[in-house]
Structures are given as C-alpha cells and as structure tokens.
Point group: C2
Chain length 224, copies 2
C-alpha cells in the first residue's frame, strides 16, 4: 500500500508532477487509505482531489465518475489481496494452503472495517462491484483448483463447485469472526453471532481443514 | 403459496371484503406471485393494489411504504422456505439433513429467478433485507446446531461457525448451480461458472456431505 498520499502534496496546494500512471495509482491509493476510516460511499472525489493537491477536473480525467473511482479502489484492493495471498509454489499442498489462508487472515484483520463494508455494505450490490468480487472469487477458485491434479484429485464440475463454495464459506466465517471481535459493519445491519470468538489459530485451522473436507465431499457426490 | 390473488377481485374493480389479517396475507402473496416474473424493485404498489382490487390508500394502510411492502414479501418467502425445509424429527440425523436439503433444492428450483435476484440482486444490500436474510440464515444454523448433541457433537463456537459457513456454502453453490443451468440473474452481473452443471442428485449429495465434513474440520480446529 504505502503512503504515496499527501506527503508530497496535500492541502498546501503545492502540486507535484507525476506520470499519468503514477498519478492514477496515487489517487487510488489515497482512496484505499481513506477507506480505513470511512465506508466507500462516503469518499468523495473532492476529498481525493484535495488530498492529492490536484483539481477535481484532473481527477475526472483519470476516472469518468465517482463511481468509476470507487470501482478502481475496490479493484485495487482485490488485486492486492490476491497478490498478498498468492500460494507459495515451493511448499507442499497443505502448507501452501495454510500459507494462503494465513496471508488472507492477516490481510483482512489489517482492515476489518474495509473488508466487511465492501462485502456486506451498500456497495456490495452494485453490479460493477459485484463483477470485481466475482472475478476475485473466480481467481481464488482457479488457483486452488490448479493444484488439485498434483495431489491426485480430478477437478471435475462437482469438485470445482465445492471449491467455489469453500471460498464463500471462508468469506462468510471471516465476516462473522471479525464481527464477533467487535468489528463494526458500517453501515451494518448484521448482528454478530452469539458466543465467544475463535482464536486466530482456531480460525485458520477451520478454514484450512474445510477445503480438503468439502473436496472429499465432492468426490463422494461425484461417485454417486 | 396458492393463488388467493386476482381470482375474486382483479382489474374488474369488484372488491372483496377480507379480514385485515387475510387482506394483508393476500397482498403479500400477490407480491410473491409477481416476483416469479420480475425483480422485486420492479413491483410497484400500484400493481398490487390494482390486482387486489383495492385502492392504493388501503395498501398503504397495511404497509407504510413500498419498501415496507417489499420487506414483507421477502420475509414471507423466507418464512415459507424455513417451514418447507423444516427437519423431520422422526428421521435419523443424516436422513433428516438430506430431507432438508432436498426440500431446499425443490424450493429454490421452483423459483430460481426469485432466489437469485433476492440474494444477489440490488435489493440484497438493503439493510432491512439483509436483516431478514441474516435472521433466516441464523434460524438455519440454530436448527442444525440443535441436532448435534444427539450425535455426540458439542456445538462449541468453532462448530457453530462451521455450520454458519456451511449455510453460506450451500447458498453460494446453489446460486452457481442455478446459473449453470441458465437461470438469469435479473439484474445479473454474475457470470456462470464454466463447466457442465451437476445433476440434482450430485448437487444434493455435495450439499449434504459438506455439513459433517466441515463440522469434523471444526472439531479438528477446536482440538488445536
């Protein structure tokens, strides 16, 4: 992430010349930073322009609308999450899986409010946002499925569906777990599940163990 | 469901006197019927009043706003689904589970468009709708968890979280499965997963087998 942000520019109005590529990245990263303290729908183009020390007009040169900017921010977070959780191909399959889950838990616990509001807040029903989330889930499914043949599992339609369901399983228990720890869902209609929260270790164990478990279920289902 | 609807009233303008209780139920059921052919956000209060042969004013006597009416329709569908899928306590646990899953698959395949648009359409982010869905999921989790002690499973926090995740797993694979069969998600941004669709039997097998699988994962996680 970094803080390319207001350091070299900011409210002083002093402008820094950046390449178009870097300017765009700077604007998106400013959006990501703001997202730590407020939901996406409360991030205005004026806020970003002001913090970047650029005119609103310049911002609209990079993003056609506030909506486009918001989508770019969500896209950035999703890509970043996928990179941070990329499987380490040097490990054996179960260690690779655990590494990915641990990186994912690190990622979401660094920005719990962002994660919950992105996936359960009012932006979550926007078609463009849904496309980004859906593409992210599909990428997670694909990279998981890729490793199955090496451990003797044929990724047929049932297995693929089970892996997809596992991604939804992890997403849902992550949100419930973050809420159990008192993470507010701004704007949050969900109530936390009752009961005490799992430790980070228990949570990781559950998410990791559930994958081979549902894949085995799929193999059972396929075999009739 | 039935078709209390336009039979005894309809566009003719002839009004039928119903008790407040029955009138309310009639209006909701008309909403449920219309939902089979269009997304909720396209169901207007005028449509319903017209079909029921009542004035718009009378409809607002029962529901303070179009939004309240929509929430009541979703609430009705959720309660109906819970009743239709209630576990048969006379069966042994695995048969009880299979019975519930089969009833659920029957329920959603009777109204695939409704199911997908409710859970993935633009209404899905509305806080009141989310509360209904969340309460429905919680009811599914609770009634599942209730049966665990009888088969020797302590429903601790980890097991409860796994059951919750299983509900999300089933919901997600159901939507993917319906989409694989060409159910359109109006207004649908999701692309169907590639690959051929599972048979109904394979799908039920997967959803059923996944529950004991993730519960076993949770027991493993809890034991450290």
């Amino acid at each position: 992430m970094g803080t390319v942000s207001g350091n070299s520019s900011g409210k002083s109005g002093r402008r820094t010349r950046l390449s178009p590529q870097r300017r765009r990245a700077q604007l998106i990263e400013l959006g990501v930073e703001l997202l730590a303290s407020r939901p996406l729908e409360q991030i205005s183009v004026e806020d970003i322009a002001d913090r970047a020390g650029v005119s609103r007009g310049l911002l609209f040169h990079y993003f056609a609308s506030k909506h486009d900017f918001h989508v770019a921010v969500v896209q950035h977070i999703s890509s970043d999450m996928l990179e941070r959780t990329a499987p380490d191909e040097n490990l054996d399959p179960m260690e690779m899986l655990r590494g990915t889950v641990v990186a994912y838990v690190d990622y979401v616990t660094e920005r719990p409010g962002t994660y919950v509001s992105m996936l359960r807040g009012s932006v979550s029903a926007d078609p463009d946002m849904r496309s980004v989330f859906e593409a992210t889930r599909r990428a997670m499914v694909e990279r998981t499925v890729t490793h199955l043949p090496s451990i003797g599992i044929d990724p047929d339609a049932t297995v693929r569906l089970a892996v997809r369901g596992w991604v939804a399983f992890v997403e849902d228990i992550t949100i419930a777990w973050l809420q159990q720890q008192g993470i507010s869902t701004s704007p949050g209609p969900d109530d936390p599940e009752g009961g005490s929260a799992l430790t980070r270790e228990q949570f990781v164990d559950l998410a990791v163990a559930a994958l081979p478990a549902v894949v085995a279920s799929a193999q059972f289902a396929s075999s009739g």
